[in-house]
Symmetry: C2
Subunit: 496 residues, 2 copies
Amino acid sequence: MSTTLDKLKSKLYDVNAIVAAITIMDWDQQTYMPKGGAEARAEHVGILSRMAHELFTSDELGTLLSQALKEVDPATDEGAMVRVTQRDFELRTKIPSSLVEEKSKLSAEAHERWVEARAHNDFQSFAPILERMFEIARQEAEHLGYTDHIYDALLDQYEEGATADDCVRMFETLKANTVTLVRNIQENGEPIDDRVLYGNWPEHKQRHFTEVLLHDIGFDLDRGRQDTAPHPFCTGWSIGDIRLTTRFKDYLGSAIFGSLHEAGHGMYEQGSPMAWDRSPLAGGVSLGIHESQSRLWENIVGRSRAFWSRYLPPLQAEFHELQAFDLDQFYRMINKVEPSLIRVEADEVTYNLHVLVRFEIECDVLTGALAVKDMPEAWNAKYKEYLGIDVPNDANGCLQDVHWSMGSIGYFPTYSMGNLLSYQFWTVLQKDLGDTDAMIAAGNFEPILDWLRTHIYSKGRKFTPKELVLDVTGKTITADDYAAGLNAKYREIYRI
Amino acid sequence: MSTTLDKLKSKLYDVNAIVAAITIMDWDQQTYMPKGGAEARAEHVGILSRMAHELFTSDELGTLLSQALKEVDPATDEGAMVRVTQRDFELRTKIPSSLVEEKSKLSAEAHERWVEARAHNDFQSFAPILERMFEIARQEAEHLGYTDHIYDALLDQYEEGATADDCVRMFETLKANTVTLVRNIQENGEPIDDRVLYGNWPEHKQRHFTEVLLHDIGFDLDRGRQDTAPHPFCTGWSIGDIRLTTRFKDYLGSAIFGSLHEAGHGMYEQGSPMAWDRSPLAGGVSLGIHESQSRLWENIVGRSRAFWSRYLPPLQAEFHELQAFDLDQFYRMINKVEPSLIRVEADEVTYNLHVLVRFEIECDVLTGALAVKDMPEAWNAKYKEYLGIDVPNDANGCLQDVHWSMGSIGYFPTYSMGNLLSYQFWTVLQKDLGDTDAMIAAGNFEPILDWLRTHIYSKGRKFTPKELVLDVTGKTITADDYAAGLNAKYREIYRI
């Protein structure tokens, strides 16, 4: 029995080594690589990706996997490892290579067309290729298989077991609560002036301040580091080597909340058991659970009054412009709500409404209820309805995201799942730990991190995301905790 | 015909991609990797090294290579590519895997023993394992094959075609000239006081100054970069992506001459034709030729009076402590000659005497004329004879270098070859270009770099090192130019 498993593990370590190489090359490309390195980097990554794919989808590995599935006890760690490997194997082998290749070629072309279309604010020039991309997504869904809704097959790639029905349920609650809350804030809320947060902040001071935050909340800088990149991200190739990036902009919150967000991802990755290093069990279990951790540290901890009761004085010591403002003013500024056109710039309250628009449109196009050419009209109507704003053009409307041009259809809801789950987990955490505000205000993050490590991080990929959520919170994903949390927080902030 | 060659090239690109991955992992380990990443890094590099070795020494590649050897015209670039691939293939396949494995295991153990022995100044505890390492080297030499001297087979691995006889000839001239020059300097030279070069120099100022130098001499920072590492090195994975490192120490020359040295290696690598990128023809042809370029830029250009006539004023502007000294004083300081115990800290004049000691000892141990256990005695006697100094202990004597513990026997002479060749190439360059001092003093390095590109860098690995030296200088490697250059330079500096 051990022979099959040992052989399988050994093959998986090989695949992991190549994937680690690709990942470090990608990290380097976004942080330190000189521009002259781009051409060879693309070739190297292309070759290594082919090797990893060939090795992982080989008949030899497939045979070992089938044998192992029969031999191991599913309740053990090794059983779980075989199960997640089987899932990864199926995701990579169920879709025929011809379709994978077609999608890969179309993506390259679609990405260029999308960049042009956005630059020229010309959705119709992009529509035909986007139509083909949705058609490929439909075919992928058929190959992957589903029971109820075509969307389920696509979403499952990013969030195992999640369904369109889950999304409909969660967005129903979200829509009911958030649309009203946003209207209330706009109509009756006491306005917030956050102009002081925009300035010319010295980079080395921002870097130093964010590194203090990383250290304090518990991101282990002996097992990771933070560098600078145009777009913040978290990556890694070992539980002992997790890399974050942040960026320094004129908005002071950009680096601070970017760092806290990525550190949330990073601490999740650092929290896998070392015995699982380089194996399929290490790391985060799904995009939604991952995002719940980045959002928890960014928003629930990092945008709390307690947090800034501790960190506003040192921030003011570094950035004198802030000394004219007290804790209450600062707390309101970093939680300003304002319906806007662009998802990636959205605040915590309006963010999910952006996602809702995309989810509904994806469903309608996939089922044929909406033609791609009519997408702008549908998009703009929904922005008017949910966010109360007029979309002036498609560049700032339905052309703003890169996802569809890459064929990532069914991906968006995981952002909202992360938001909901951050509050859903936090509600339980708070019940268990008691006065978290006092801990945060004292800079005592260890009990919080410990709780998350015990209940989430140390589980790695051992359970499915649905099992994990049920196990930790006693219920399936829900918008209730999120809606309650947001209402309490923002009604107080906006005095409504 | 094109099919064989295309298949071969494609296989070589695959090997190159894995080697690039290993190289970037190694660069990262020495520059940015947090300590927690070490364990997984060793595993990843181990796995990738095995993959690269298996792919490169596969029967499939061997067959393609034999066919290609018959099909391509040796006078063409493709013929040269096949020739160097054949050489690399033989170096990796002639030695049986069992011996490779034995050496690999012994190296790991020997390295640890060496570290301990050096720490406890206890050569005899290291002697038995070193004896085994020399025995493995003897066996390697037999597998690789040689005509005249067992040393030839070992040296050839690092410097194609170079022989013990070449070394004997070059060291004869060197010894005759250098030993006398060093004695003369010690007995009759006007002493040099360089204490001002040791201080607490701010790192960011050192970094900035070295980056200006890199830019000015022509290291292309769009196709490379400089980072910090404990030991300076140059590496790369594409002609468009060459990485240097430097270090910042209390000796101001450490960063400056370290950067110039590595930039010499780097500009050589950057100078390969882009069409050869990722192929076996790109890069430096041998360790000796590579070292000739680092030494040329470090010593001949970088330690010249002309160079500092341009760069002393900006250096003084950064580091005020130097303002009390004029060009002549500064020039003498950075060229101070002092026989010392440690090779890596040796000046330009005494450096080769350190190498000579090692070369003679390697030969004697390999042929059985010297027993390993008697090495310290031989070492100390030679240091007394050639450098005029007493070795107080083995830690600072025959235990100082890492090379033998890794089984790198036959490597040392390439350092001296680099020194000799730097002057040998420079003599021709100067004849071709005329007043190089005027160019250097004007910061006009382009003609010098262009000459080196044309005659050396653009040749990559197309010719053997011996062919290249003969083609560029009209003669085989000789110590004449070096001895003449050093005598002229240092007799003037020491006023003897």
